[in-house]
Amino acid sequence: MPIAAEPSVEKGLAIAVEMDRRDAGFADSASTMEMVLKNRKGDVSTRKLRNRVLEQEEGNKSIFVFDDPLDVKGAALLTFSYKTKNDDQWLYLPALKRTKRISSSNQSGPFMGSEFAYEDMASQEVEKYSYSYLQDEELDGMPVFVLARYPVDQKSGYTRQLLWVDKDEYRPWKIEYYDRKRTLLKTLTFADYQQYLAKYWRPHQMEMINHQTGKSTLLKWDDFQFKNGYTEKDFSLNSLTNIR
């Protein structure tokens, strides 16, 4: 049962800041990710990646290393996120033995043909959105805040997202994505949250369902490692060529 409340920009921003604050200080992390793609027909296809994140004041740095399919094995995507400008991205192509800069600020297209755009998986910098708290609700018996956030980037594929964030730990459990015509495009649900270093929560499952195409993608995260001692050198263009 929704409890009536006044939509509030301040409260929305405050919740977002609190979400960010609770996740701050993990320094770095590594994990594996499996993507399971499904189309309307029920065909299934998987991809395997490894992910590294380095926490930075001006915006996190991250690397996705592609392991499977084999024909892209060794390819690596380096992203520098920024709070208030477009992210920088490079892709190392082992077959070409070259690193190519990805020009556009296009992070709204499908990632490897999945239902996730890069911006759905990327580090969620507070400044990338404006916020509005809508109401309190219960999601599967859990007290949650419902807030709306609006991408600052005009090129985003979304006009609006709705987040369901639990009041205890400030973790997102559900995100609804609304497209340019303001209709519901996708729903992302988070499951199997586990806590690391007695502080940081990481979902081990994220399922994205595209309501318009009937396709879906399941992300299975695993093998989270924290405090790996990464430095900026591990997140440089040169580091991509011989990443293990």
Binding site: K41, V72, T99, N106, G109, Q212
Partner: protein, 767 residues
């Protein structure tokens, strides 16, 4: 009049009707309204896919392809300037506005135009992927010129999104229509037209037209509405005119209008209770029912007024008319219904529905004619008026004499004419082009024709070319086959445009080698191709991805071929040629071409093949009924000739006059079988009565048949012809052509029954 037991039963029943007339009228009205209330469950389906049964293998293949990639239901805004190239700041700004606004259209999932075409080029170590016309305001004239060159050289745009002369361009919007909302399309169409109107208003020099697959469905919907609202009043007017002229009685007109209306409502109600939906084809059933329903009433009322003129009281006349007309009405209603029911053999659902609804209407009309009509008429006092009866009887007598005297000439000349017409039948060319289903005054037809002439076609054939394994679409061998197939396709005269993954791969190879044109070729390793694709896909913005071209496991890619101005046969031969090319040159990539145009190209063959069974079964049942009705095997078999000949002759005339048949036209044979049988039944039963009961010779019997039933035949034929003439006014060719052919068949049936059947009977019955 010697009454047998059956006649006595009928008399008792008619007396009971008259005595309880008020109860019967009220009771039958309530019953009819009760059944008719089922019509509220009816809904209209505008999707052209409704023409294919759920187990149609081509529909299944098509849906499989759509479920693998994405649905390609699209609408094309065709934008042109009457005298200038579209590459100028103003037109480009209009296109930008239109492209952006198209994302806002309900259910839209993708927008393709020259504005947001993903132009790729190299810049140092960067692969630039950006909208071709990303920010029009900042463009100089030279910038526009440079980009124009890019657009006109791009195989993915040319002849699909931009015309070679740069005068016409398209904004192609792809939609995912919700399946559960029948009102969605109308809602969308309204928004689309509003958007087109807005752009026209802001940029008055631009012309905007609308075509695309969804516009086909819109045209279906609107033509269905138009037919229902325009043709129905015309039909009523005709019925009122025919009855008024024939009977000169207000009560008779009211009775017939009521009867016709109730028949239609009962049929629609039964369809609603039965869970049927309406299509642009089955929506023609009410007009068909109206045409057929008046015949029963006319027979009863004409005879009644005739008896009254002979001096009988109204009730005596009504009972006598009821007795002599009951059997022929019953037989003709049953044969007509059987004719419609044989449409169930045809593998085209809307035709089945049309047949079933019409059959229910015919049966309802019979029930109402023998229950409601006599009771209703007996509530009023009527005066018989002098009508055209007297003149016509003498005219028919004269015609009988002419036919009898020159019977050999008639028989021979008819045989010669028939022979010539029947040999013309094979000259009919099959054509099932969707666009041509719509008359030239329909906007959709005009817009689609314009688009075809100046930019691109509406018909696409799609292939999902399988690779050998997951991620196999980047195998050099696969891409080479894809490229060869694409090259072969582009050489075909029917083909306007081909979109294939190989073009993207070549372009990327060039971009990643510093835009050196010598690298405009396929990458030579699988890894390279896969990694190019990975890079490219990471660079694409929302709604511009490759998910509509490559399946999720990257084990198949989609080729979309846009055809130009092609006939049904050309679509078929193109598809056969493409499939045999694949078999020969890329057997591992073999697949069938699918798509709406392909399905419609094959539906004719399917519907005709299945229709033959329908005709055979219908003929068997109807012949059995006739043998029983005429109480003679010989005459029953003989009646097949005048029953089958008219449809055959009509096809011969059609071949010489129109020359193109569509799937609806092919069904006229089954439909008319039950209708034209009526003439034969009436004529032959009168002839046989004269031979058997009055012991006339064959010439006298022919004359008797002419004078006793000739007028009713002429009147019902004229009424039917008028009804079909109205249905032929439809802007939907499937309905219009089949109505016109039916009309020809009905006129021919009368000619055959008057000029050919009598000489034939006299030849067989040598006195």
């Amino acid at each position: 009049m010697n009454k047998n037991r059956f006649d006595l039963m009928l008399e008792r029943y008619a007396l009971w009707l008259i005595r309880n007339r008020l109860w019967v009228v009220v009771g039958s009205l309530l019953m009819a309204v009760g059944i008719a209330s089922g019509a509220r469950h009816l809904y209209f389906v505008d999707d052209y896919r409704a023409y294919f049964s759920a187990e149609n293998p081509q529909l299944l293949a098509f849906e499989e392809l759509e479920n693998t990639y994405t649905k390609n239901d699209n609408i094309l805004f065709i934008v042109s300037h009457p005298s200038a190239s579209i590459f100028n700041a103003e037109t480009l700004t209009a296109l930008e506005t239109l492209t952006n606004a198209s994302w806002q259209l309900p259910y839209s999932t993708r927008v393709d135009s020259i504005i947001n075409f993903q132009h790729t080029y190299a810049e140092g170590d960067e692969l630039v992927v950006e909208d071709l016309f990303g920010d029009i305001e900042s463009f100089s004239t030279n910038d526009i010129k440079a980009k124009q060159k890019v657009a006109l050289a791009e195989p993915r745009l040319l002849n699909r999104i931009i015309s070679p002369d740069a005068k016409v361009t398209a904004v192609m919007v792809t939609f995912q229509m919700p399946e559960a909302d029948p009102a969605a399309l109308a809602k969308l169409t309204l928004k689309v037209r509003q958007l087109a109107a807005d752009i026209r208003q802001t940029y008055p020099s631009l012309e905007i037209r609308l075509t695309g697959e969804l516009m086909i469905n819109t045209a279906f919907q609107e033509i269905g509405n138009k037919d229902a609202t325009h043709l129905t009043p015309l039909m009523y007017l005709t019925i009122i005119l025919v009855v008024a002229l024939l009977l000169k009685s207000v009560v008779a007109v009211v009775a017939v209008v009521l009867l016709v209306t109730l028949s239609v409502l009962v049929a629609l109600g039964a369809a609603g209770w039965g869970g049927l939906f309406l299509t642009v084809t089955s929506i023609a059933a009410p007009t068909m029912i109206m045409t057929l329903a008046i015949a029963d009433a006319i027979h009863i009322l004409v005879s009644m007024f005739g008896f009254m003129r002979e001096g009988k009281t109204q009730n005596e006349a009504l009972i006598s008319s009821f007795i002599i007309n009951f059997s022929p009405i019953l037989i003709t209603s049953v044969t007509t219904a059987v004719g419609f029911l044989t449409l169930n053999f045809v593998d085209v659902p809307p035709f089945k529905d049309f047949g079933n609804i019409s059959a229910m209407g015919v049966i309802a009309a019979f029930m109402l004619s023998v229950i409601f009509l006599p009771a209703f008429i007996s509530c009023f006092r009527l005066q018989p008026k002098q009508t055209l009866n007297i003149v016509s009887v003498s005219a028919l007598g004269w015609l009988a004499d002419v036919v009898i005297k020159n019977r050999k000439v008639f028989l021979l000349s008819m045989l010669v004419i028939f022979g010539l017409l029947l040999t013309a039948i094979p000259r009919n060319e099959v054509n099932n082009e969707i666009v041509k289903f719509f008359g030239p005054e329909i906007q959709f037809r005009q817009d689609s024709d314009y688009s075809l002439k100046h930019l691109t076609g509406l018909y696409t054939v799609e292939y999902s070319l399988p690779a050998l394994a997951a991620n196999g679409v980047t195998e050099p061998q696969y891409l080479a086959h894809l490229e060869a197939f694409t090259k072969w396709l582009r050489k075909r005269p029917e083909v306007m445009h081909v979109s294939a993954l190989s073009d993207i791969m070549k372009r990327l190879n060039q971009n990643l080698h510093g835009d050196d044109v010598n690298w405009y070729r396929l990458p030579d390793s699988k890894e390279l191709a896969s990694q190019y694709l990975l890079l490219y896909e990471l660079s694409l913005p929302f709604g511009r991805d490759l998910n509509n071209e490559i399946n999720i496991s990257k084990s198949a890619s989609r080729i979309v071929v846009t055809l130009g101005d092609v006939s049904t046969n050309e679509i078929k031969s193109f598809r056969d040629a493409s499939e045999s090319w694949l078999k020969k040159n890329a057997p591992q990539q073999f697949t069938y071409g699918v798509g709406a145009s392909v399905m419609f190209a094959d539906i004719f063959k399917r519907s005709t093949e299945t229709m033959i069974n329908g005709v055979l079964v219908g003929m068997l049942i109807i012949s059995a009924i006739l043998i029983f009705a005429l109480k003679s095997l010989k005459y029953g078999v003989l009646s097949l000739l005048p029953n089958l000949l008219p449809a055959g002759l009509a096809f011969g005339i059609w071949a010489l006059w129109v020359g193109q048949v569509n799937m609806a036209v092919s069904l006229v044979m089954t439909m008319t079988l039950g209708i034209i049988v009526d003439d034969t039944v009436h004529f032959m039963s009168k002839y046989l009565r004269a031979r058997r009961d009055y012991k006339y010779n064959s010439a006298e019997s022919v004359r008797y048949a002419f004078t006793s039933v000739g007028l009713a035949l002429v009147v019902t034929s004229v009424a039917l012809a008028a009804g079909f003439a109205i249905m032929a006014q439809s802007d939907f060719a499937l309905n219009a052509d089949s109505s016109l052919l039916t009309l020809i068949t009905i006129v021919l049936a009368l000619i055959v029954d008057f000029l050919f059947l009598p000489p034939l009977l006299m030849l067989v019955d040598k006195d």
